[in-house]
Symmetry: D2
Subunit: 277 residues, 4 copies
């Protein structure tokens, strides 16, 4: 068995569910995070020799997240994540520590100081990776479900013997968008940037004329990289959640882009990165 070796490996703790209540004078604030920690480094002995002497217990990772939250979860998730990532990257046997965070939004009910509803319409994400002397920041948005009811076409594609799809100049485009972008180095206001990038994304999604999901990804991604110099690159994943025009002709009815059958499977899936060249 001498010719078998350990390849790439990492380990950590996932789904650490942390809620912090900030009890301000003007009202409370809810921070609701799902945190994952992942470490890479000198852990081969734990695999090949069952030697745990260098293995930071994942239970310790979980404890650290809760223990750090009081002091360090005071601003952006990126700031909190960077404290955690640096803490773990300072452990000698760790070469790379990655902290992934999902932030779940809670909004005040009206003007209430201490009552909230959860806004499930999208999730803010962040991934902070630290080595001994580097720190990189990715941010993102997940599960944002969008629809264009006009100005979405799909024409001019090649036809072979297995092609039955008609061309269309006016279809519904629906998607559950996920995007992650990597920030350039520098002092950044992560909260402000997130809102600005999200606004660009929504604005361009609403405004553009789409020739395909690919085209939409490009236009949105291009605008984000172009307008936000802090963004080095963005990767977007868009399922194409097909809406088929219902055939009402058996019932003697026309159906001019009015009644659709929403479907969940199969779905198109388009993923691309747009970056500063």
């Amino acid at each position: 068995m001498t010719d078998v070796a350990l390849g790439p490996n990492r380990y950590g703790k996932s789904a650490i569910r942390l809620v912090k209540i900030v009890r301000g004078e003007a009202g409370h604030t809810v921070r609701d995070l799902t945190v994952a920690i992942s470490l890479g480094g000198d852990f081969e002995a734990s695999y090949v020799a069952g030697d745990n002497s260098l293995v930071v217990a994942t239970d310790t990772m979980k404890n650290t997240v809760y223990a750090f939250a009081r002091e360090h979860l005071t601003g952006s998730v990126e700031a909190f994540g960077s404290v955690l990532a640096r803490h773990f990257a300072a452990v000698p046997q760790v070469e790379r520590a990655t902290v992934s965070i999902e932030e779940h939004a809670w909004r005040p009910i009206g003007a209430a100081a201490d009552a909230f509803w959860r806004d499930r319409s999208s999730t803010r994400t962040a991934s902070i990776a630290a080595s001994r002397d580097t720190l990189t920041f990715e941010a993102g948005i997940a599960d944002l479900t969008l629809m264009k009811t006009a100005r979405s076409a799909f024409t001019g594609f090649p036809r072979d013997e297995y092609t039955t799809l008609p061309e269309t100049t006016d279809r519904i485009m629906a998607t559950k968008l996920s995007a992650t972008w990597r920030y350039e180095e520098g002092e950044l206001d992560f909260d402000e940037l997130f809102q600005a990038i999200r606004s660009t994304l929504l604005e361009v999604f609403a405004a553009h004329e789409s020739e395909s999901v690919q085209h939409s990804i490009w236009l949105v991604g291009q605008a984000i990289v172009d307008r936000h110099p802090e963004v080095a690159e963005i990767t977007m994943t868009l399922p194409n959640l097909h809406h088929w025009l219902a055939d009402l002709s058996p019932f003697g009815q026309p159906n001019d882009r009015e009644i659709f059958i929403a479907t969940t499977e199969p779905f198109g899936l388009i993923q691309a990165t747009v970056r500063r060249s």
Copy 2:
């Protein structure tokens, strides 16, 4: 086998996914429904004799939903559902037709006329039941996730040998609320009523001092029945999504209702009906 008989039974079609695009001058509107049809009546022969001569095919039910949507889905889901329910209740062998609808909300992106984001924060529901000469309306809200960060207590409960829970006068109460209410008969503006009842629900949830989830259900339900004479009764189901105070004492830190562990299981589950007496 002569002593075996058919008992209660019903059948229908579920998860009919219907999207209607209303292309108005001032912009589009998206109606996005999940519809289920269920019939009861003289269907015994289909079970005991394999005789389908009275069985309205569930595929026909689906077709009917799409075919009716063009003409009849112009206002509230209750209005649409009542047309469908009456259609099926008019079939001679049908004694009771129930149409259940979930409406998924799409909001315009900014001022866009033809681009939308899906608001997943809650789902509006309706259930319309028709017999030959009756029609009853239930409405509801599902998956509304709420939290109170103050003014929620749980004290004074009995203690036996299996009780370890400490009393608390200031806990987090979090829940994913579902409510359905039955309307009194009469001419009703279902859309306006839904918004008004939802507002009452949120307002009372935010304002009240809670002694328990049971107490909260009562106060919310009582206010809804009291303020909205159109509501005959309301049934609310509230999971108690426990948030446990993290024990930071091993790390030398206090934790005065600040850092919590959010949990999904086990959960308390409280369900009650409040009605006009």
Copy 3:
């Protein structure tokens, strides 16, 4: 607000996840249960007055389940559930205690004494309800996914202007079956009965000629009630998970009941009770 009253209500704890390892001489056994407790009774004061003095805490329910597992989880889930149900029904303010249990199956890996794989193919369920002097037992099976690839027809159904479905004498019938049955009173071997009823269900499902899902429910239910006198009645819920014949004619191919598109929505849904008359 004097005309508002509390209606039906119940409360309890759900999703109590209990694993018991029985370390026998010949090998270990894994018992893996999800338990829910629900109580009804004299709890009105907790709702209308915020008075918890009679409210058994749901946390206490959870503790009781774990505390009882050592001594009382030694045989069937019905036996374990009845001890729990009687315990809670003995609380003076409780009129009815219901214990619902799902048992998740773990099978030994080969002949291993202490290693197991989880058999996810179906879940055994039980529901035990106790009042001061009654005890009723329901058992069931959930999430059992079945398919007939022959001898399933659907013909002779009525056609109206919205009917497009062709008749078929040889379709695929696929379903994710759930069944619950109520036992007659008496001394019963619940484990043996469950296996016997499950065998009858599978045998009749495989053997019968189906004219419809309704017909299948009847034949399976009738056989169970007929062959197992311990069963007072059985309720079955069968989604009809449609498999549509793929249209290969555009590609110049026949398709004689060979290539199908499996779908998840919409689905037919048929539910019926069969009972001793």
Copy 4:
């Protein structure tokens, strides 16, 4: 905007649900696949210019899967996938076509020729990637839930100020394992290999003494690479689904590794590759 460029990209169709009924003399066989197609290549114009002239429609991909199933889905999913992957890789603008397949198992009910139950205990996976002149095969198993009730330890790990986990020499190890392995080139009997590798995996999982999840991954992976020369490397992902010993001391009971609380979050997550060196 001249400094923005398209980076890595791919697109395709996911969740293509295909069922094939093979009607043999001795009985039927059900093949139930979920297929995804993904293409990379010269698709930049579709993004940056909205030019679809090279875009194979994802609807065409779906059609191709169904059209190929009659003739080509006669043996292993790897064989079927390779025909599909080669078909798409032969399109001039395609540089790389990847076909990912999940096979869902249906087992005959007893000796029935035409009735089946779905075995949900694990899913067989395959991923076939083709370029103009290369073809690589990965296979795998997903969602296999396993437990060791003895011979699983976790000791000797470092302790810092955030460590509270006690050492244990006898814990429960539970996991929902996913593994994918890449095959060496050559003529392979994929079905036989899958069964043999699955057997090795289960056998070693059952037999080994585990010092940690990392150690278990190594021992299982090492055995697979060592015993199956057709396997170039294997990547395994194991969540550590924690089972915490219930504290029964408040109820005056001992609990010697008998009663456990099964949890779903947070969970450890360990991923590693083992390969021929």
